[in-house]
Each structure stands twice: as structure tokens, then as C-alpha cells.
């Protein structure tokens, strides 16, 4: 896996569904680097990504596009800077069940700010069927306060059509840039 391979980057809060989203569209079962969660995340999920998830799609001309999922936890931030090299754009997934989903969004917008400025980003909020607040309007308020606007939707990362919808939005933004 070349660090310069063209790729889409999936990032976001732990347990938001990054690995699941990649699995929904990858042409092979993603390579995952999950280990047992030992910190406070253990109460939320059994395993967590410590390096990256890797999936792939192959285009008609044989070119491969990587689907890279970053570890969600902030202590693996050093991996984010490595993984974004060669990135076409960013998909941010936010778990609405977490204590501060709006704060989570700002973390990823801040930490990927340069990459987003060079490419673009879309945002998917998961688990809104389980936890309805904050609402989509609340997320747009955060973006508005930051002077930003991105495609932002409520999605189910397990559903292929939802993940493809996010990618469609990202591709449209990249095409019209």
C-alpha cells in the first residue's frame, strides 16, 4: 500500500461507523487493525482501530482507489497526518450517541483543516435514529459559526446506499471545485 495511493479518507469519532462504512463499499473485506479496547472506550465497543482500516475499489482502467479509515481516538492523531497523503477528500462520520457530537465534529474539522482546504469534506452523522439530538440544524449551526458549510446528512453506515450518497456528495464537490 503506497502512502501516495489515491484514496478517500474516512475519519470521525470512535464507534461512528468508519470501518463499517468502508466495508459497505470495498470490493474486499477491509483489512482492519482492531484490538481490544482497554480505555474508557471499552464500555462503548469491544474493539477499536489502532492504525487504519483499509479497503479498495478498482476502476475500469485498473487503477485502484484506497478507502482508508483513520483511528478515531485522538491519541492516534499522528496516524491521521500519514494517512491523508494522496487523499482525494475526507468523509467525517460522527456518532450522535457520544456525549458531545458537536465538539467531536469540531475536533476533526480542526485537525484536518489543511487537508480539507486543499480537497473537500462531507459529514455523515450516525445513530440519529437512536439519539435524535443534537439535530442536523445544530450541526449546521456549528458549521455556520465557523464560517463553513459542507454536505451534512444523517446516515446509517451499515447501508451501502447511504455511504454511496456521501461519496456522491463528495465527488460533486470535488468535480465542481
Amino acid at each position: 500500500m503506497s502512502s501516495q495511493q489515491l484514496k478517500f479518507i474516512f475519519t470521525g469519532s470512535p464507534n461512528a461507523g468508519k470501518s463499517t462504512a468502508i466495508a459497505a463499499i470495498s470490493e474486499f473485506a477491509p483489512v482492519v487493525t482492531d484490538v481490544l479496547a482497554t480505555d474508557n472506550l471499552a464500555s462503548v465497543k469491544e474493539k477499536t482501530t489502532v492504525a487504519m482500516d483499509f479497503g479498495q475499489i478498482t476502476l475500469e482502467n485498473g487503477q485502484t482507489i484506497g478507502l482508508y479509515g483513520t483511528p478515531g481516538q485522538l491519541r492516534f492523531k499522528f496516524m491521521w497526518d500519514i494517512l491523508i497523503q494522496g487523499g482525494l477528500g475526507l468523509i467525517i462520520l460522527i456518532d450522535n450517541k457520544r456525549p458531545d457530537p458537536l465538539g467531536d465534529l469540531e475536533v476533526y474539522l480542526d485537525n484536518f483543516a489543511e487537508f480539507i482546504a486543499r480537497t473537500d469534506a462531507v459529514i455523515g452523522v450516525t445513530s440519529m435514529d437512536v439519539q435524535a439530538t443534537p439535530t442536523i440544524d445544530d450541526f449546521f449551526e456549528v458549521l455556520s459559526r465557523r464560517g463553513q458549510i459542507f454536505p451534512l446528512f444523517s446516515i446509517d453506515a451499515r447501508k451501502k446506499e447511504d455511504v454511496l450518497f456521501l461519496l456522491d456528495a463528495l465527488l460533486t464537490c470535488l468535480e465542481m471545485a
Partner: protein, 330 residues
């Protein structure tokens, strides 16, 4: 044509008045700017602080007169007067503390109440007076349609939802019907909504408002939206729920950075009528920032990105994205 509109204020503190003066300066570049006046009779709109008891009395009195002036209730006092349930829907509302975005939006609504002719001479084919029109003009109000014995439907635009009686299945028709066609229409407060919501079915408001506006738009700009205005998204349309079309994604993306309608049609490669329909629907759902007059030489949405890619790189990227789309089937 009116070259300037006048705003009078009553019972507003000196501090807030100073803030409003700054906000009024923002309208200098508008097609019809606003100015402040101390003379109530000369005002086109009157802003009254309703957190002051005398202010509430004045507002009630002016509302009862049903004069030509647009009335703006400024504050958060829920008790507008002795009879809050009878308070006219046509009174605009501005919350405290003041911010330029909401202030300018209220002024836009007030300007429409004053029936300002569009500067380009374009006479927008306003939709027939309808419940939809009422909801668009009163985004902060909870509007209830009541039958003989109970509520038929209640619309909470701020929270993007509505509540309906089990028997009411044609919300689209209800939105497009004349205000009195299906029962009495009035405003209720949130406390009353909380009391009755349990007996009604809650649904998302965006899809029916979106489809209703599209069905009456017919390529004509809604009300007094300016044909030469600068339109910009502040809230991405919930395209998944609204009935996705590829053109909508392109239009929303182009509106991200803001542009005029003709620029939008050019960038998104859509007919101007389709662009207008989309903008009308976005406006109806508060997806747009307050419409401004374009700055001379405003560039279309795509211009900024020339900083990101050279034409050769852009063409190569375009081919790559097309191949990705074909591979993913999108």
C-alpha cells in the same frame, strides 16, 4: 419605486439601538436600503421591544389597526398582550440578543410586507395566498390549523416538523390551499403545542414544504426575491429525504460559495427555471443566507477553486471522478 425604506423603533434600549444602526448600514448596498426614522407615521416598519410592558401595549394597538406598516416584535416575552392566542400572524418576530443575520432577515420580510417592487422590473409570480405562503412568511411561529373540535395540523417550522391528525393525509394539498379552506388558522405557543402533540402524528416538515414550493414555483421567483440577488447556502438541503436528483447536488454545491441565479445556472449547467425552482424551495426551508445585492464583478462559485487546480489537472481529475462514479454506480 421606493428608493429607501424607513424603520422606526420604540422602547428599544440605547445600546440595542446603536447595534441596529450598525446593522442598518449593512443594507446600504441593498437594492432598497433601510434607514432609521424617529417619526412613526413616516416608517415603513416599526420595531417594538415587547419585553417592556408599554411596548406590548403599543404593538397590540398597532396590530389592531391593521395599517400598512410592517410590525416587528423585538424580544422574547411570550405574553404579547392580553390575548396571545389572537395575536396576528403577520407580526414579525426578532429575538434577543440582536445579531445581523436575523435582523437582516426580518428586514427582508418587512420589505415584502411593504410590497417593494423588484428593481429589475421582474414581477415575481407570487404563489396564491396559501398556508405554504403563511409558513414561509412566519418562520418563527407555530401555526395551527384547527377544525370544529380539534387541531387538523400544527406546523413548527423552527424545529422542521409538523403534527397532523390521523385523518389528515393530504398535507401537500393543505399547504397549497387557501388559508381558510380547511379550518381556522392561528398561532399557538410552544406550551400549547406540547399539550396537544401527544394526540397528533409527528412528521418531518421539509419534504412536504419542499414539494409544495416546487409545485407552485413554475420558474418564477417567490414573492420579492431579487432576480439579481446573491444567493448562498447556510444549510445543506436534506437531499436524501427531499427526493434526490443529481441536479440538486450540483446546485447545492454551487450555492455553497454563493452566486447570482444566472451564474448558478451556468455553473450547474441547469436551465434558469430549474434554478429558480430550487432556490425558491431552499428559501422556503430557510436554507439560504439573507439575500444580498451582488458586488460588482462577483465571481461564480467555481472561480475560487482555480486556486486549487490548474486546467490540466482539473481535466485529469474530472476523468478520474467519472471513472470512480461508474465503478460505484453513482
Amino acid at each position: 419605486m421606493t428608493d429607501k425604506l424607513r424603520l422606526a423603533t420604540r422602547y428599544v434600549s440605547p445600546r440595542h439601538l446603536a447595534t441596529f444602526s450598525i446593522f442598518l448600514n449593512f443594507t446600504r448596498k441593498h437594492s432598497v436600503p433601510w434607514d432609521h426614522t424617529d417619526v412613526l407615521k413616516a416608517a415603513d416598519a416599526i420595531l417594538i421591544d415587547i419585553d417592556v410592558s408599554d411596548g406590548r401595549v403599543l404593538l397590540n394597538a398597532l396590530a389592531a389597526q391593521k395599517g400598512r406598516q410592517a410590525l416587528i416584535a423585538y424580544g422574547d416575552n411570550q405574553e404579547y398582550g392580553d390575548h396571545p392566542a389572537d395575536f396576528p400572524l403577520e407580526v414579525l418576530h426578532l429575538h434577543k440578543p440582536p445579531n445581523s443575520g436575523s435582523f437582516l432577515r426580518v428586514l427582508e420580510q418587512a420589505a415584502r410586507r411593504c410590497a417593494v417592487e423588484h428593481p429589475s422590473g421582474h414581477t415575481a409570480a407570487a404563489p396564491a395566498s396559501s398556508l405554504l405562503d403563511l409558513l414561509v412568511r412566519n418562520p418563527d411561529k407555530i401555526v395551527a390549523v384547527s377544525g370544529a373540535e380539534s387541531y387538523i395540523a400544527v406546523f413548527d417550522k423552527k424545529r422542521r416538523c409538523f403534527y397532523r391528525d390521523e385523518a389528515m393525509t393530504d398535507i401537500h394539498g393543505l399547504l397549497l390551499a387557501g388559508p381558510g379552506a380547511h379550518g381556522h388558522i392561528g398561532e399557538i405557543d410552544r406550551e400549547r403545542l406540547d399539550e396537544v402533540a401527544g394526540c397528533l402524528i409527528r412528521e418531518a416538515l421539509d419534504p412536504p414544504v419542499w414539494s409544495a414550493m416546487l409545485s407552485v414555483s413554475n420558474g418564477n421567483l417567490y414573492a420579492d426575491l431579487p432576480l439579481d440577488g446573491f444567493y448562498k447556502l447556510r444549510h445543506w438541503p436534506s437531499l436524501y429525504a427531499l427526493g434526490f436528483q443529481p441536479s440538486y447536488m450540483r446546485l447545492a454545491t454551487a450555492l455553497r460559495r454563493g452566486c447570482t441565479l444566472h451564474m448558478l445556472a451556468d455553473v450547474a449547467q441547469e436551465p434558469i427555471a430549474s434554478v429558480i425552482d430550487f432556490v425558491n424551495a431552499c428559501f422556503a426551508l430557510d436554507y439560504l443566507e439573507p439575500v444580498a445585492v451582488p458586488v460588482q464583478g462577483a465571481t461564480p462559485a467555481s472561480a475560487g477553486a482555480s486556486e486549487k487546480q490548474s486546467p490540466a489537472v482539473a481535466q485529469k481529475a474530472s476523468g478520474l471522478f467519472s471513472r470512480i462514479r461508474r465503478r460505484l454506480g453513482i
